[in-house]
């Protein structure tokens, strides 16, 4: 008898515990937070420690060198170029993405025939795994059998015997990398914009119509302000996807020719893994982090502020 009563009591207590807001919240959040602490927090601290040592490949130990790695990286012209390229790739590709995605999303909102097919074709670059689709671009930009060059030659747009080397010329290679980044992120931005357009209440549309706002005027005064928060989110993700990505550069150009297309991520990889200077590689990577955090915090704050008003 006594044991049954005791068991009932524990069950009740357990139940009460699950009903307690604070306990339940902690129990539900803890696994995710612990996982993140172990798999992101731990390695991040370790990477920070590495960046202050002269550790080389294969070991995690090294002599403490203070901020030498950061100073050395900063004075390396390759690092400077990688930093500049990271900014260049991100800003130019995202400008292209926002413009194109805005246009596409607006056109896709209208109920037209063949919308499903058009949407499928537009979404393809996002669905394809980047490490694979970039190989497709490698073939399109091939030095001898580039379909772009073949077409341009037929149209007499380029030199017949000395066509542009998309991946072999430092300036053109920058363009090639940007084009692939923009190409793969446009569909993603389109989807986010569609989400934003779908969330504009129909009353707003009606009110705009009653007030005589049409075409560009309506776009400028009604649609654009309502779209701003969501455009910010699309931009934030676009920036993160471009700036932290190494795949496109690694597959398309390997950072070349002559390190002209290195980004911070790929330069960190080539320094830390290929070159074996773990410490300096970690330092190069760490330069990227504050940049991203500042951008993210600013944009999240902006997105919230716009929504409130």
């Amino acid at each position: 008898m006594a044991t049954v009563a005791a068991r009932g009591r524990t069950r009740r207590r357990r139940r009460n515990l699950l009903e307690s807001r604070r306990f339940l919240a902690t129990a539900l959040i803890a696994p995710a937070v612990l996982f993140i602490l172990v798999l992101v927090g731990g390695p991040l601290l370790l990477a920070m420690y590495l960046s202050l040592t002269d550790a080389v490949g294969g070991t995690l130990g090294g002599e403490w060198v203070g901020f030498d790695n950061f100073v050395n990286a900063w004075h390396d012209p390759n690092f400077r170029r990688a930093l500049r390229n990271t900014l260049l790739f991100t800003i130019v590709s995202q400008a292209v993405v926002l413009l194109c995605a805005g246009l596409i999303a607006h056109a896709l909102m209208r109920p037209i025939r063949g919308r499903w097919l058009l949407r499928f074709l537009i979404i393809l670059p996002w669905a394809a795994p980047v490490p694979l689709s970039t190989i497709g671009w490698l073939w399109i930009y091939d030095s001898l059998f580039s379909v772009v060059n073949w077409t341009a030659k037929q149209l007499h747009l380029v030199d017949q015997f000395n066509p542009p080397q998309w991946l072999g010329d430092p300036t053109l290679a920058l363009g090639a990398v940007i084009s692939v980044h923009a190409w793969r992120i446009i569909p993603f931005a389109v989807v986010i914009f569609l989400a934003g357009l779908a969330s504009i209440p129909s009353e707003v549309e009606d009110a705009a119509k009653v007030d005589g706002a049409v075409g560009l005027k309506k776009f400028w005064y009604v649609t654009l302000p309502l779209q701003l928060p969501i455009a910010t989110v699309a931009l934030l993700f676009g920036i993160v996807f471009t700036a932290t990505d190494m795949t496109v550069v690694y597959i398309l150009t390997q950072g070349g020719p002559f390190n002209s297309t290195q980004m911070l991520t790929s330069w960190a990889f080539f320094t830390g893994i290929r070159g074996g200077s773990l410490g300096e590689g970690a330092a190069v990577s760490l330069y990227l982090l504050p940049l991203l955090v500042v951008v993210a915090v600013l944009m999240l704050r902006f997105a919230r502020k716009v929504e409130v008003t």
């Binding site: 699950l18 807001r21 604070r22 339940l24 919240a25 902690t26 539900l28 696994p31 937070v33 993140i36 798999l39 992101v40 731990g42 991040l44 370790l46 990477a47 590495l50 995690l60 596409i104 607006h106 056109a107 209208r110 109920p111 037209i112 499903w116 058009l118 499928f120 074709l121 537009i122 996002w126 669905a127 394809a128 795994p129 490490p131 694979l132 671009w137 490698l138 073939w139 399109i140 059998f145 073949w150 569909p187 989807v191 989400a195 969330s199 989110v233 932290t244 190494m246 690694y250 790929s266 990889f269 830390g272 893994i273 590689g281 990577s285 990227l288 993210a296 915090v297 999240l300 929504e307």
Partner: protein, 284 residues
């Protein structure tokens, strides 16, 4: 109603964009059916077939003489496992952050999201050390094991998904839950019977997103897996169909098309629910 002029503008915008965005895939399809002779004839019109093309021998090469099908299977295994782990960790956490905790829940949510920004190139240096020294089930380490990817991928899918779902849960009217609680349902019961069913579009969004993050990874898979039969498509195709200076272009193109088309169909099919998932939450 929309006017025919608006319709025409739509087609004029969408047509060229669809053409440019999808062109690489059309080109992959074309290339994948060409013979060597046809592909490397500089005097050929590349938009036509000739010299024995079209041929399916590139596909049979891919299926029978490479481990492509194993890589596809590995990718599916890793994808499903990672999505499962992500849901188990992110759904409860997001709900608790959105509903059960007050102001600090919001800041913590942003904090979790910020961990998504830590670039993989920074984390994988220490992680690869941990992976190769982490003893498990008699093995010396997780190096060359699919489980290394299953363990590491949630490090970016969980922060992202938690943040996305948090917004989603916030958009569910509180009254629904309160009504259930008044009727005597426990918090957990409310969660399972009221909250989760309405959250399906959000959960679907997270599933699609996590899966796409997994197939898009390259850095971790490149660093952790070097044995052919444990590779995923993202690195297997790149490392084994390009051998030094020799590019198996037709097989490479076929290998890219095969996962891309079904994935795009899937995304397109679920796009409307996906959009509902995004508007429902992430931005409120």
């Amino acid at each position: 109603m929309i006017t025919s002029r608006e319709k025409l503008t739509s087609y004029l915008i969408l047509g060229p964009f669809a053409l440019v965005l999808a062109f690489p895939f059309y080109w992959m399809l074309w290339t994948s059916f060409k013979t060597e002779l046809d592909l490397y004839d500089i005097n050929n019109v590349p938009f036509f077939f000739g010299h024995g093309s079209p041929t399916t021998k590139n596909y049979s090469f891919l299926f029978h003489e490479t481990e492509y099908l194993t890589w596809v299977k590995n990718t599916a295994i890793v994808g499903v496992a990672v999505v499962a782990i992500t849901l188990v960790l992110a759904v409860p956490a997001a709900y608790a952050l959105a509903r059960l905790s007050g102001r600090w829940g919001q800041s913590m949510g942003v904090g979790i999201f910020l961990t998504y920004l830590v670039p993989p190139t920074l984390l994988f240096l220490p992680l690869s050390y941990v992976i190769s020294h982490f003893p498990v089930g008699g093995h010396a380490g997780l190096q060359d094991s699919l489980w290394s990817l299953v363990l590491v991928f949630p490090s970016f899918t969980v922060p992202f998904s938690t943040w996305l779902l948090m917004g989603f849960f916030k958009s569910i009217p509180r009254e629904l839950e309160e009504a259930a609680r008044v009727d005597g349902a426990s918090r957990l019961r409310t969660l399972f019977q009221i909250v989760f069913p309405i959250s399906l579009p959000g959960i679907l969004t997270v599933i699609i997103f996590s899966f796409s993050l997994v197939v898009n990874d390259f850095v971790y898979a490149l660093a952790f897996i070097t044995t052919s039969d444990s590779k995923t498509i993202s690195t297997g195709v790149f490392t084994e169909l390009i051998r030094g200076d020799i590019f198996y272009w037709q097989a490479l193109m076929a290998a890219t098309l095969i996962p891309s088309i079904p994935l795009a169909l899937l995304y397109n099919m679920f796009l409307d629910r996906f959009i509902a998932g995004f508007t429902g939450g992430a931005f409120r």
